[in-house]
């Protein structure tokens, strides 16, 4: 029989992983019902819907999408917590992944007064990665940037002979010295605008699993407000030897 945990004691990683997995599952079941029911209603009445009713349907879809993403986030957190993050590596185009990730993040984290811009090269940047996992990691950093921006978030790609550097920056208030030690720690929200404290920790662990690293610097965007300097999250990924290098599991 398991002893009850003392308040404040660290959670058993395996028990926590199981809990997160079950929570994700229990979220997905009703989400599937609502999504299907809404889709059927729309199909039945599509010819009769007014523009306003269609907009309501779109808002419902987006809300369901956000909940679905939350379930996925819990599921990935469960994998990381259990130490078994499964990767399916292949040769991928980082530029293509970044374009898609920016579109996804912009659709999920829709802020009224914030614009996300992309400065990406026209030619591909090939590396070995798990497309889904790396996409997710980049989306999480982009979502974080949009969430904390004052007016502008930006993603750009810097290429070196052996390394691709993805720089995702915002013109928000930046990260304080006190916040830095726990910035990539799971379940530690770092601001009142942060969510569960999972997005950046997932991004960090996925990037490390790909042989890269995630660091933070000062944003090069003009300050959103006087006296503040936003954050730049820098994802460094190896691009040399893509034919023989395979990401390692965590």
């Amino acid at each position: 029989m398991t002893e009850p945990r003392e308040p404040g004691a660290a959670a058993d990683p395996i028990a926590l992983a199981e809990f997160l997995g079950r929570l994700a599952h229990d979220l997905r079941s009703p989400l599937g019902v609502v999504t299907e029911a809404l889709g059927s209603l729309r199909a039945d009445f599509s010819a009769e819907l007014t523009d306003e009713q269609r907009l309501l349907g779109t808002l419902a879809d987006r809300g369901l999408g956000r909940l679905g993403r939350l379930a996925d986030t819990l599921s990935v957190a469960a994998e990381l917590e259990s130490g078994r993050l499964a990767l399916r590596p292949s040769v991928v185009d980082l530029v293509e992944i970044l374009r898609a990730a920016a579109a996804t993040a912009g659709a999920i984290e829709r802020r009224r007064e914030v614009t996300l811009t992309s400065e990406l090269p026209d030619r591909p940047c090939l590396l070995v990665a798990d497309t889904d996992r790396l996409s997710r990691a980049l989306e999480e950093i982009l979502i974080n940037a949009i969430r904390h921006a004052h007016r502008t978030a930006r993603v750009r790609l810097e290429l070196a002979p052996a390394e691709a550097r993805v720089v995702i920056e915002d013109d928000g208030r930046g990260v304080s010295a006190e916040q830095r030690p726990t910035l990539f720690r799971r379940f530690v929200p770092n601001s009142s605008r942060a969510g569960l404290g999972l997005g950046l920790s997932i991004a960090h662990d996925v990037v490390v699993a790909h042989g890269g690293h995630l660091s933070i610097a000062a944003s090069t965007l003009p300050p959103g407000r006087a006296g503040t300097l936003g954050s730049a999250f820098v994802v460094s990924l190896p691009i040399a030897g893509t034919s023989e290098r395979v990401p390692r599991p965590v």
């Binding site: 808002l59 829709r110 009224r112 007064e113 904390h148 004052h150 009142s192």
Partner: protein, 136 residues
């Protein structure tokens, strides 16, 4: 003397300044409040809300508490410095401390998210017609 129509005799519904930075939440509330006959102006931050309140008259403030450049409490204090204004707080965090903080800042009502449109409309009618009642 201008001719008075029956429309002129109908009570005018309040002009609502809705402050919510999440675009879909703001769009949904704007649309549903519009269906109930409210005239809604939407702002996504403290600074744009202050600008909107200067640009056009506002009868009631409905504000999220966690805004990108400050809090709903900050916003209400600045608006109240310019004159009286009924106000409703919306928040995903509805612990006692959050409610007390909003009350201390002067919010007439505190509604925890997710809030149904019926509860919000009821609260709007209460604060604009007097007799504030707190609900969660």
């Amino acid at each position: 003397m201008p001719h008075q129509t029956s429309r002129d005799l109908e009570p005018r519904l309040p002009r609502v300044l809705l402050v919510e930075d999440h675009a879909d939440s703001a769009e949904l509330l704007r649309l549903l409040l519009g269906r109930h006959g409210f005239a809604v102006t939407v702002a996504g931050s403290v600074s744009t809300a202050l600008a909107a309140a200067c640009a056009a008259p506002v009868d009631v403030l409905v504000s999220d508490m966690n805004l990108p450049d400050g809090t709903g409490n900050d916003l209400l204090r600045q608006l109240r410095a310019q004159g009286s204004l009924p106000a409703i707080a919306l928040s995903g965090r509805d612990r006692d401390a959050d409610v007390e903080s909003a009350r201390a800042a002067g919010f007439d009502e505190f509604l925890g998210k997710p809030v149904s449109i019926e509860r919000l409309v009821d609260a709007l009618r209460r604060v604009s017609g007097g007799g504030a009642v707190e609900s969660r």
